[in-house]
């Protein structure tokens, strides 16, 4: 017999190694609108401002995506800096002094909003609408001849539509389709300047592209440029009514990952599916099954009238 312990006898374990405490994030002292604040190293100016209740407008920023800092609506004034700086991506540095509501800041924010509103259709972008009001923007002053991005809606599949006349080029969909979530890279920014736009290769229709219809681009789009076909059709028929809709969280029935789905329903019918951004499993992102695979719920009941509500009110 060897001395080695029988594999069947449990080897007594020592105490569990203690989990090392997370490295302490040093605090950085900065001043925001004259108020001294301490924020963790590595935080952005946006986080610092939000931390003390200052509501900074953002359009291209989203918690679950890498900041691209392109819309410039979040700019703040940094003392000693020649230009304004984007709050969403600029990290705090000791001794910074920031102004979030100076004349310069308000002018740039207003202009950004006016430039956008004069060139794209923001009617399905409630956040942008609210900012336009807040900054007293007058996009019409550029005159009726101002060039716009108006163009026909792209309807090339039965799941979602692309209305780039509403696109503010925030890059969110590209990020969601790429390294930040889906890793499919079906779409990218093409062209340059005012001609820059979101496109597949040579603008081929989605069914010919690499798109897998995860709908994650729709989930992050802030302007309604990307829209569920169901929502688009209802809007066209003027029956889309967000105020009468319910939102119910449930778990996707398809696989073991168990993504949280938020089911949006109107008049007892599912109209679209999203996922909460702060959901640790999904970070707001889903796959084609969770996102679009709900039509079966409708078909079961489609012939029977009246339709049975499938979601709790």
């Amino acid at each position: 017999m060897s001395d080695s312990p029988s594999p069947l006898i449990p080897i007594p374990r020592g105490p569990l190694p203690a989990i090392p405490p997370p490295p302490e994030r040093r605090l950085v002292r900065i001043a925001i609108d004259g108020q001294a604040v301490s924020v963790p190293e590595g935080a952005t100016l946006l986080e610092a401002a939000r931390g003390i209740g200052i509501d900074t407008p953002t359009l291209c920023y989203l918690e679950n995506l890498t900041p691209v800092n392109v819309c410039r609506v979040c700019v703040v004034e940094l003392e000693g800096s020649r230009t304004l700086v984007p709050a969403c991506s600029r990290k705090v540095e000791p001794g910074m002094s920031i102004h979030t509501d100076s004349e310069r800041v308000r002018l740039s924010r207003r202009l950004v909003l006016e430039l956008l509103a004069s060139s794209v259709d923001l009617s399905a972008a409630p956040a942008a609408q609210a900012y336009l009001e807040r900054y007293a923007a007058h996009p019409e002053r550029f005159g009726p001849a101002a060039s716009t991005a108006a163009q026909p809606v792209k309807i090339d599949n039965s799941l979602y539509v692309r209305d780039y006349g509403k696109c503010i080029l925030c890059y969110k969909c590209v990020e969601a389709c790429g390294v930040d979530a889906q890793n499919t890279f079906a779409i990218a920014v093409a062209g340059r300047g005012f001609e820059a736009h979101i496109s597949t290769e040579y603008g081929v229709p989605l069914p010919e592209s690499a798109c897998v219809y995860c709908g994650n681009c729709i989930g992050v789009c802030p302007t309604g440029a990307l829209m569920f076909k169901s929502e688009f059709d209802m809007r066209q028929a003027r029956v889309w009514d967000e105020s009468s809709q319910t939102q119910t969280d449930t778990i996707c029935p398809y696989c073991g990952v168990g993504c949280t789905l938020t089911v949006h329903a109107q008049d007892g019918r599912i109209v679209k599916v999203t996922s909460p951004l702060d959901q640790p499993v999904t970070n707001g992102h889903l796959c084609i099954k969770g996102r679009f695979g709900w039509q079966f719920v409708e078909t079961i009941t489609s012939d029977t009238s009246p339709p049975t509500p499938r979601v709790a009110p």
Binding site: C71, S108, L115, G193, E201, Y202, A210
Partner: protein
């Protein structure tokens, strides 16, 4: 990565064009590959994009996104060779017909006076004297003396001399060169890069072209000294796509230098290793912006990055990078040979050394003029034979499209960084373009506005849409348009990501401020 490609297949010719340039198969080969397709096939087809995507492992949508960024690439069939006729400002006033689409300044504005003038000092003394194709001739004209001396001195001493020289960057931002060198040298990362910015695309600028065509070895030697000083083994030379002759001469110079042991491994038998890769731009002014240039080399769209981090911390391929303009770099051999203090004694206390100016427009002898810092605008114009055209000067565009118009009353301004700043202008890329009193300045301003609209990368809102509105408002004219124009200008200056948007309103505002625009 799992690529999904379209059904189109490449032709044999396309396949061979791509395969000949894929090299390591890494993404940064994308621009050379696209150049090969454009020059051999005449356009970049869907089949070719599929093949590029497969060989370089880049999604086809992104290959398309990059190809469609550059003016020199066509995504529909066209002849392999297409003539370009410049209709930018210096050519416009000589009667060039407006083109559709516009063709930006080709850096040949000095050709209106035949032959182009060259006024040489300590920087240009070899141009036109030494054979640009001969390394032997370069050495006969004091070439490679500075590199040999630098190797004797050691990297830290070289940087000390560059600091002592007070050399300021000539690419437009006037940043102290020595500080950049020092920062990269001090970085913790063992991989560093030298990038020579030879993208010269500012309308009215052609000084770097004259240097590269006339004295290519000086660029190579200067980059090698920089590489030695900061501890880099690899340099990129990014040459404007519209400068084929410069690219050809530099390529030849690189080969010669390698063959003679002054570039590559074991330089001058001293164990130093440094090599240079030449990259051609493809028709995008914005790629002269340093971080856009990095993205362009790396095979991405030439969109500027947000700063910080600055290139000295995280530049090309995310590594500490020294990026300098051609003219900045070719000052270094003289600094190494004469010492920083001697160099700093030339010019003024703040603006040291000599400067290359690009004179064009209504000037008697257009060309490149080298002058000691401190010469006045008037003296420079006199050097070039005075005002041509009607002989009555209306305005001078100083610093290029991103610069400012100055009035005839300001001709006694000393041409220094501080002197031009004092009158609300800047040296920029050292454009000095004269307009006589017959020129309709509004037309010139409209052409400048169109330039910025076309060259905006499109990334940020203030610039992408602001440059469009600026052109529209200028065109609309009238007193009510001016306040809106000014607000658009301020938002572009304050909120744009990069220098393009930040200076896109500069020339127009300078004309308004000086009452040069008559409405």
């Amino acid at each position: 990565m799992d690529l999904r490609l379209g059904a189109e297949q490449p032709t044999e010719e396309e396949r061979s064009a791509v395969d000949g340039e894929v090299g390591s198969g890494e993404r940064h080969r994308l621009l050379p590959v696209l150049h090969a397709l454009q020059s051999r096939i005449g356009w970049i087809s869907p089949g070719a994009v599929n093949h590029v995507a497969a060989r370089l492992m880049i999604p086809p949508a992104e290959v398309f996104g990059v190809a469609s960024f550059y003016g020199m690439f066509s995504l529909e069939p066209r002849p392999a060779r297409a003539a370009q006729v410049c209709d930018d400002i210096a050519c416009l006033i000589q009667g060039a017909a407006p083109q559709h689409p516009h063709v930006g300044c080709l850096g040949l504005c000095d050709r209106w006076g035949q032959p182009p003038a060259l006024h040489a000092g300590r920087l240009l003394y070899r141009v036109g004297k030494a054979d640009p194709a001969s390394l032997r001739d370069y050495i006969r004209h004091a070439g490679y003396k500075a590199l040999a001396k630098a190797l004797e001195m050691g990297p830290d001493s070289v940087i000390r001399e560059v600091l002592a020289s007070k050399l300021l960057g000539r690419g437009g931002a006037a940043f102290p060169a020595g500080k950049k060198w020092q920062a990269v040298r001090a970085s913790a990362s063992p991989t560093r890069y030298v990038v020579c910015n030879a993208d010269e695309s500012e309308p009215g600028t052609f000084k770097d072209r004259v240097v590269m065509e006339g004295d290519p070895f000086a660029v190579i030697e200067s980059m090698t000294i920089a590489g030695f000083a900061i501890g880099a083994e690899c340099g990129y030379l990014y040459v404007r796509g519209e400068y084929p002759l410069a690219a050809e001469r530099l390529t030849h110079a690189i080969h010669e230098a390698r063959a003679h042991g002054v570039l590559g491994g074991n330089i001058l038998g001293r164990g130093l290793s440094f090599d240079i890769e030449l990259r051609r731009g493809a028709g995008a002014y914005i790629c002269g912006e340093e971080t856009a240039l990095f993205n362009s080399i790396e095979g991405y769209r030439g969109e500027p990055r947000n700063k910080p981090p600055y290139p000295t911390e995280a530049g090309l391929f995310g590594q500490p990078t020294l990026v300098n303009n051609v003219e900045t770099l070719i000052n270094v051999p003289g600094i190494v040979l004469d010492g920083g203090a001697a160099y700093a004694a030339i010019g003024t206390a703040y603006s040291t050394g000599t400067k290359l100016y690009c004179l064009s427009g209504h000037v008697a002898r257009s060309g490149v003029y080298e002058a000691v810092f401190g010469a006045t605008l008037r003296e420079l114009i006199e050097m070039a034979g005075g005002v041509a055209g009607s002989g009555r000067l209306q305005a001078v565009l100083l610093g290029g499209a991103a610069g400012a118009f100055v009035s005839p009353q300001e001709l006694d301004t000393p041409l220094t960084f501080e002197g031009t700043r004092a009158i609300g202008a800047s040296l920029g890329s050292a454009v000095v373009m004269l307009f006589d009193d017959t020129v309709d300045l509004k037309k010139i301003l409209l052409r400048i506005a169109a330039f910025f609209r076309e060259e905006s990368c499109g990334q940020c809102v203030p610039c992408r849409i602001g440059t469009v509105r600026q052109e529209e408002l200028l065109d609309r004219g009238g007193q009510d348009a001016i306040p809106i124009l000014r607000e658009v200008g301020q938002a572009m200056r304050d909120a744009s990501i990069c220098g393009l948007g930040q200076t896109a309103s500069s020339a127009i505002e300078s004309a308004l401020n000086r009452g040069l625009l008559h409405e």
